[in-house]
């Protein structure tokens, strides 16, 4: 039906590798590609850098990826709700890079847009400014932030057409559309794949040129 359609296992096998940088959509589990993350957990890949707002939830999905020892470095904004992150970090098993959520989002967008960096007022004068260039522009101070990119992005959408155009579902949209722009290879988990032409061209959020593979969700929130 769609040349982009793969099983979750195939999608992981074809795209991920030891040491890969992988973006995973979701604000908590809302908008997290559950089926694909489960396939990741069942695969042998390891030493991942995971770029995701959190590592949700304790013991399951990305929380389980962490417990399986597959995550070397987590880049995100809010890991407080998963105590395993703190434990792994204190034990020296997990590097954590924390960014303000707006900076995290903008860095992903910048990565997808081919930019070399951007100046944001967020975080100036705080602990998260440590080691970052501060620059005064028109009398206001800004931090230089670098783009985030990845080898693979695992995103969740509501629906795809056969070409790979995506539409999202309510607040499950969150980081998914920007992550879909910022990785070399993009896997989108969807509830259904409709025929090309069935999505309103004014309503498509992620045009198909950003999407490499589609996976049908086997589980939902």
């Amino acid at each position: 039906m769609s040349g982009k359609l793969l099983t979750p296992e195939e999608a992981i096998r074809r795209t991920l590798f030891d040491g890969a940088r992988v973006m995973v959509g979701g604000f908590g589990l809302v908008g997290c590609p559950l089926t694909v993350v489960r396939a990741l957990n069942e695969s042998p890949v390891k030493d991942l850098t995971v770029i995701s707002n959190n590592l949700p939830d304790p013991g399951v999905y990305l929380g389980r990826t962490l417990l399986l020892g597959k995550v070397r470095h987590a880049i995100g904004t809010y890991f407080t709700t998963n105590p395993d992150v703190g434990r792994a970090h204190v034990a020296g098993q997990l590097e954590v890079t924390l960014l303000p959520q707006g900076t995290f989002s903008e860095a992903i967008r910048a990565g997808g847009a081919g930019l070399g960096g951007f100046y944001t007022p967020t975080g100036v004068g705080t602990l998260l400014a440590e080691g970052k260039e501060v620059r005064e522009i028109d009398g206001r101070s800004y931090l230089l932030e670098r783009p985030l990119t990845a080898d693979v992005a695992l995103v969740r959408a509501r629906r795809a057409d056969a070409l790979g155009n995506l539409v999202y579902e309510k607040t499950a949209r969150n980081f998914n559309p920007i992550m879909a722009t910022a990785a070399r290879t993009v896997v989108a988990e969807v509830d259904e794949v409709v025929e090309t032409g069935a999505l309103d061209p004014e309503q498509i959020v992620t045009p198909h040129l950003f999407v490499d593979h589609l996976v049908i969700a086997r589980e939902r929130l």
Binding site: V30, V96, Q101, G102, G123, L128
Partner: protein
């Protein structure tokens, strides 16, 4: 007590405003707001947050930034996180109400990190303080142990160099202007003496502060 803070903070919002409510006491404010007059923005990608759903309405893909199930109001819209923070950082959101661990005489807010523990969460608070037009801090006046949270200088890591504009507690409301903190309202159940006793920060007192339980200037 927390609800009393929420009610007082709600009175600072103006009809037509777009408002972001943080975690903690601010989430209690929604019930005190006119839903046709105040538009709630949630940084996970929704403008037009509605009240909690009935069991039948509950949709697991419809949450706010506190990860609570919500509904949506008529005229709401969904957007990605980069767009959401462009709204917040870009000055398009009229007000935000945030909780805090400390606020100091400069109006600076500490609400994200505790020394001695690994810092593993920051969320959107730094962006909100960087960009939202009016920032209101809603918090208890003292810690659970009775220590003042209004301090001369924050001893906890600050969230931003940008000062909060208003500070609301169960005892009082302060305005932070160019010249420091100014007490503008005292709760009818409290007194200037009590506010002074439980506040470590220096502040000016508006002559009418005691008369302002209903309606601020």
């Amino acid at each position: 007590m927390r609800d009393r803070v929420a009610r007082r903070a709600a009175r600072l919002l103006r009809p037509g405003w777009v408002v972001n409510l943080g975690i903690g006491i601010p989430t209690l404010m929604a019930r005190h707001l006119d839903p046709d007059a105040i538009h709630l923005q949630s940084e996970n990608g929704l403008l037009g947050v509605g009240p909690p759903p009935s069991a039948a309405e509950a949709d697991p893909n419809l949450i706010d930034a506190s990860k609570r199930l919500v509904t949506r109001r008529r005229g709401s819209s969904f957007f990605d996180s980069a767009t959401s923070f462009a709204m917040l950082r870009g000055g398009h959101v009229d007000a935000a109400v945030l909780g805090a661990l400390q606020v100091d005489e400069r109006g600076r807010v500490a609400n994200w990190a505790v020394p001695g523990e690994p810092v593993l969460g920051v969320g959107g608070a730094m962006d909100i303080l960087a960009g939202v037009r009016t920032v209101i801090i809603a918090m208890t006046h003292v810690t659970g142990e009775g220590a003042p949270k209004l301090v001369p200088r924050c001893t906890l890591p600050i969230t931003s160099v940008r000062p909060a504009d208003w500070l609301v507690t169960e005892l009082a409301t302060f305005r932070h202007g160019g010249s420091g903190l100014r007490l503008v309202e005292i709760d009818e159940g409290s007194s200037l003496a009590e506010v002074r006793a439980r506040t470590a920060a220096a502040f000016e007192v508006d002559p009418e502060a005691g008369l302002r339980e209903e309606g601020l200037p």
